[in-house]
């Protein structure tokens, strides 16, 4: 069985210089370039024989005129040096260049590129494991550059190496990964085609022929190269053959065999002829020999050793039941050639035939080789898997780290937002509350003022207007020339005057400064008389200076109103007003031994509503004695 990769050679040349893209326009001889040039000259002096050095230097000076950019120029110089170097020392140069990478303006791109060149070099020398390692390293560096095209390319190459070691399941995984990267890039069509074709090969290797045919068909659809299409068709037909769908396989091979393009491409023609022959033989057990012999003839003519091995093996198969000696002969030939070109699987196949149809000795050799190959392949497979897995793990780790960092950032951001929101809403609520409070206070004040106005108006009407009217009537009907009448008139007017003075006094402004206590005491004593004793308890026990003005005014007014009320209605003879400070609270108790207000709620409302309002305006509390038959008792308190 022969599986081919028709694209890779096309692709390689494109790639080699794709990373030398011109994205810098600096023409200056930068310091890093100087450093690199020094390093290069040293490299040349160290490694090249004198005669070759001259050539290279000439070439370099020619190139530097049109390649002055450090990164690009290093790449050019690199190729010039490599071109004339001894193949064995090339890896050493690569390593020197690798050390130069940090001096260039594109450290990662350069490092990854050199690693890939190392991989290619190892691949050419058939150091596949080494090559796989370098491709993998290169891929990791390209990942830092987020260059999905080159990551994808490296993965395809890695899959190819895996397939060389029959690690089909590994290559399937690698190719699936490669497609993820390649599909991100717009220039990756060729690599995608290659990857899909290789997936077909991988599934063939895994004996999942349905999948294989699916991928081959897909690859064929996106291929516009005619001979490539034919090779893919050959591969599809081989799948049918393996599935023992001989008619389908034979039909396809026949069509291919008759196609002009195939006829012109002799090696492909040999391949198709060989495959058609073996298909026919498998179907009826007798035909197909001519086709196989034709293929062997062509291959022998073209010295296609790999193809010849297949032909020998097929012919050995053909003669197995008819002429065992001939089978052994072909198997012998296949074994020799397979050993020569290092095709282990074919060698095993040949050994198996030899053991059956020739010398029994081969049996032993077969098992020995088979075991060691199995073992070797398993080891390689594990090695690849581990390397891929490690990288993957590394990538996952860093991805997980990124994700967790992003998560943390988002979380911090959210917390920040919540905090800011909270603070803003607290501030807003605070200000709104303050505004509301202010408005309420303003309203309260306005209401207070309004009530005061009403009270004064009522007083003017009730107390003053009547007296003024009476006096007017008196002046109208009496002869004021009479001294007695004049005296009465003046007395009446004096009474009225005193009443206006009282109204004024009750509504006068209150000094809230140092003389507040004097003023308060005077006001209190003003309501005392021979008939009424006003007793004060511990009024000095309170530091009036530290109490807010508005609260002092309320205390003054409330006591004044209580006393006015007392004088008018209570018939009390003793009034006790006691002051007390408990913690931060000022407590003031008023009590008299008058008639009290009775149980009439309405009466109380009228008389002391004002007092209540005033206390509430300073957030104070007021309680009236619940047993009001004996005098009036009012307690009020507020925070100082």
């Amino acid at each position: 069985m022969k599986l081919n990769s028709p694209f890779l050679c096309l692709v390689l040349s494109v790639l080699l210089f794709s990373c030398t893209g011109n994205n810098s326009s600096s023409n200056k001889e930068s310091s890093s370039e100087t450093a690199i040039n020094n390093e290069l000259n040293k490299l040349l002096a160290d490694t090249l024989p004198a005669d070759k050095r001259e050539d290279v230097e000439k070439q370099l000076s020619r190139q530097s005129s049109n390649a002055t950019l450090p990164y690009k120029s290093v790449l050019h110089k690199m190729d010039s040096v490599i071109a004339v170097s001894d193949p064995d020392s090339i890896p050493v140069y690569w390593d020197r260049f690798l050390k130069m990478a940090p001096m260039t303006e594109k450290q990662y791109a350069f490092t990854a590129y050199i690693l890939r060149r190392k991989a290619e070099h190892a691949y050419a020398l058939k150091h596949y494991q080494q090559s796989f390692t370098f491709y993998n390293q290169s891929k990791e560096v390209f990942e830092k550059e987020h260059d999905s095209l080159k990551i994808g390319y490296n993965l395809v190459k890695m899959a190819q190496i895996q397939q060389i070691f029959n690690d089909y399941s590994g290559s399937e995984e690698t190719l699936t990964d490669a497609l993820v990267f390649l599909e991100k890039s717009k220039e990756a069509n060729e690599y995608i085609r290659e990857a899909i074709n290789m997936l077909g090969i991988a599934y063939t290797g895994l004996k999942d022929y349905n999948q294989a045919i699916k991928y081959y068909s897909q690859a064929k659809k996106i291929t516009d190269h005619p001979i490539s299409q034919k090779i893919i068709e050959n591969n599809i037909a081989l799948c049918y053959l393996e599935e023992k769908k001989y008619d389908q396989a034979i039909a396809m091979f026949k069509t291919l065999y008759a196609t002009d393009i195939v006829k012109k491409d002799t090696l492909t023609l040999a391949k198709v002829a060989d495959n058609l022959g073996i298909s026919k033989f498998r179907k009826d057990g007798s035909s197909g020999r001519e086709l196989m012999e034709e293929a062997l003839e062509i291959r022998t003519g073209q010295a296609d050793k790999k193809g010849m091995v297949y032909s020998y093996l097929n012919l050995a198969d053909f003669y197995a039941s008819k002429n065992p000696a001939l089978t052994a002969d072909y198997a012998q030939k296949a074994h020799a050639m397979a050993t020569e070109i290092g095709a282990i699987d074919r060698r095993l196949q040949a050994l198996q035939l030899l053991a059956t149809y020739g010398d029994k000795r081969y049996n032993q050799e077969y098992f020995r080789l088979n075991d060691s190959v199995d073992d070797f392949r398993q080891r390689i497979k594990n090695h690849f898997a581990k390397m891929r897995f490690d990288t993957e793990k590394e990538r996952r780790k860093s991805l997980a780290k990124e994700v967790s960092q992003a998560k943390e950032r988002i979380r911090n951001l959210i917390i920040g937002f919540i905090l800011v929101g909270l603070i803003i809403s607290i501030i807003v609520v605070y200000f709104m509350d303050r505004k509301k409070h202010k408005r309420e206070k303003q309203q309260q004040k306005q209401e207070d003022e309004y009530r005061t106005e009403i009270r004064i108006a009522k007083k003017l009407h009730d107390e003053l207007a009547n007296d003024v009217f009476n006096t007017m009537t008196f002046a109208e009907i009496r002869d004021l020339a009479t001294p007695g009448n004049k005296e009465i008139l003046l007395d009446n007017l004096d009474k009225i005057y005193a009443q206006t003075r009282n109204i004024s006094k009750e509504n006068n402004n209150i000094d809230t400064g140092e003389r507040y206590l004097d003023n308060l005491k005077e006001m209190l004593s003003g309501y005392g008389s021979d008939a009424i004793n006003i007793i004060i308890k511990e009024i000095e026990g309170i530091d009036w200076l530290e109490i807010e003005s508005s609260k002092k005014i309320v205390v003054h007014r409330v006591l004044q109103e209580l006393l006015v009320n007392m004088k008018k209605h209570s018939k009390a003879s003793v009034v006790l007003i006691s002051f007390k400070k408990v913690d931060k609270k000022i407590q003031i108790n008023y009590s008299d031994n008058g008639v009290g207000m009775g149980t009439d709620e309405h009466l109380r409302k009228n008389g002391l509503q004002n007092v209540e309002n005033r206390i509430q305006s300073i957030n104070g509390t007021i309680t009236f004695d619940p047993t009001p038959e004996k005098g009036l008792k009012v307690n009020f308190a507020f925070n100082c």
């Binding site: 003389r515 005491k521 005077e522 004593s525 007793i535 308890k537 511990e538 009590s591 008792k633």
Partner: protein, 222 residues
């Protein structure tokens, strides 16, 4: 007698009434000012002209109108006068009744007389002028005589309340004395406690101790 008198008064009729009476009793030059700012300007001008006033009669309350003022009231005018012409005799002529205010004017601002605007007050102004001119003593309307002493209130302490409580619990004076002694209260002797009880009877208008307890009970003390 005073030769040059300034009357600061915002109500025309009162100013006019005053000057009528002054002219009747004194032969003096009388100048009127309706604002405190105007008054202080006139005082300063007279000083500059070397014909200073020798008496200021001023109201305390001036009604505010459209004019912006630096001296809104009589109290401010008096303070300003004390700065520009400390020796000027001043009579405050006002309806102010608050004792502490009047005391403040007489004692702190050192005015010479306070005459309360009342029925007989124009005559009182003449009496005030006579008093301060002849004797140099201060004059105060008789109805305020009591206020020169700070308000005399009936004040009690927690101690008194305690005393009444013990009495209501049926303790006799001797026992109360003992209790107070153990509590370290000030009035320790029996006589001082008796004095206290008598004073409390007076304050609470009680005719005997029983009555005192009754009244205290009404007041919610016990």
């Amino acid at each position: 007698m005073f030769k040059k008198i300034l009357i600061a008064e915002d109500i025309d009729s009162i100013g006019l009434g005053l000057s009528t009476i002054l002219e009747k009793f004194h032969n003096a030059e009388i100048v009127h000012a309706k604002y405190c700012d105007e008054a202080i300007l006139k005082i300063r001008k007279a000083n500059l002209d070397q014909v200073p006033f020798d008496l200021l009669i001023t109201d305390l309350s001036f009604e505010a109108d459209h004019r912006p003022t630096t001296l809104p009231g009589g109290e401010d005018l008096i303070k300003a006068v004390r700065e520009h012409q400390p020796g000027l005799k001043i009579i405050a002529y006002s309806i102010e009744e608050r004792g502490y205010k009047i005391r403040y004017l007489l004692e702190e601002l050192d005015i010479d007389a306070f005459v309360w605007k009342g029925r007989e007050s124009s005559g009182e102004v003449i009496r005030a002028i006579d008093t301060i001119y002849k004797s140099g003593e201060k004059y105060l309307s008789p109805r305020f005589n009591h206020i020169l002493q700070p308000a005399s209130l009936l004040e009690i302490e927690e101690y008194d309340i305690q005393l009444i409580k013990y009495l209501s619990q049926g303790l006799i004076v001797n026992e109360i004395c003992e209790v107070f002694k153990t509590e370290g209260k000030s009035a320790k002797s029996i006589s001082s406690i008796e004095k206290r009880i008598n004073r409390l009877k007076l304050y609470f208008k009680a005719r005997n101790t029983t009555h005192l307890i009754s009244i205290a009970k009404d007041l919610g003390l016990v």
